[in-house]
Amino acid sequence: MSEFQGCQLPEDLHYDLDYVWARPEEDGTFTIGVTDPAQTMSGRLQKARIKKVGTHLEAGRHVATLESGKWAGGVPVPFAGAVIARNDALLENPHLINIDPYGDAWIARVRPDDPATALERLHTGPDAVAALQAWIKRYDVQCMRCSD
């Protein structure tokens, strides 16, 4: 696990180099969430909307929207696909994203239309971590993780 300005950046995940991480699952689907620096930038989240299971999304469209007292934004999917699961716990308690963005606070699971190209817009490993470090510097983010 890499860390930069307090932000955790797991090297085994795939990133859009903005807000989103994606983890390939054994069944060909991808679990999607937001990164530690992204949750820090957002502040304490108060509202989350996640697309219903069965919704089809084109690449770049938002699978979820998040709002805090000081920030609002969307969580884009990096590839076209259908939502096959969503984390309903976040609808009740969006603040979970501030606590465990890479674990319990996953946002949705998406089945890509074309699994062969799903990773094309995503980056992983040391190059991704370096790009995310640049992102953190660009937006002057200092991560702090909430414990409750």
């Binding site: 909307r49 770049g60 938002h62 929207t65 000081k70 609002a72 934004g73 969307g74 660009r138 937006y139």
Partner: protein, 175 residues
């Protein structure tokens, strides 16, 4: 030092600034444009609530063109570079955040248009809520941290940017 305002004897100042017939500064012009765009978006939301889908589509397109091709274009090509030059170290974290806000908003505008096309008021309202929150925070930050520095950051005190905003308004008025 606060820079002097300049004259803009054109339609933009009469329609958007209302109370001020010919004189305004670049920060006032940009703030008034926020208000004008907010009103357009509200009108679009009202049309959606009343199921006037064709009106809603037209109003959203008017809003989108005004904000993307007018307001954001002037900010990204003239105002942000001037602010960055004033600060002296390339892209500033403030302008980086504001540019990112613009990028995020463009996707939401497309999604709002798709919701109107699908005549899906619930979907539209979800996007509207998020977009209005983004705009409220984005605009407040621009008005507090960027606009007050613009006149001093630009050699012409923002006259060219103000003229570009006015030209954009005039073109839209003739459509």
């Amino acid at each position: 030092m606060k820079s002097p305002p300049f004259s803009l004897g054109n339609r933009f100042t009469r329609s958007a600034l209302k109370k001020e017939s010919t004189v305004s500064s670049i920060d006032q012009i940009m703030q008034h444009d926020h208000e004008r765009l907010d009103a357009l978006l509200e009108a679009c939301a009202t049309a959606v609530q009343e199921s006037r889908w064709q009106d809603a589509a037209g109003l959203l397109e008017q809003f989108r063109r005004g904000i993307v091709e007018g307001h954001m274009f002037v900010e990204e090509t003239m105002l942000f570079p001037a602010f960055e030059a004033l600060e002296g170290d390339g892209e500033h974290s403030l302008t980086a955040l504001l540019r990112k806000g613009h990028q995020d908003l463009r996707v939401f505008f497309q999604e709002m248009a798709e919701a109107i096309e699908a005549q899906d008021a619930e979907e539209f309202n979800d996007f509207l809520s998020t977009v209005q929150t983004i705009l409220r925070q984005h605009d407040a930050r621009e008005e507090a941290e960027l606009y007050p520095h613009l006149a001093d950051a630009m050699p012409d005190h923002g006259a060219a940017a103000a003229q570009r905003m006015a030209d954009g308004q005039r073109e839209k008025g003739h459509e």
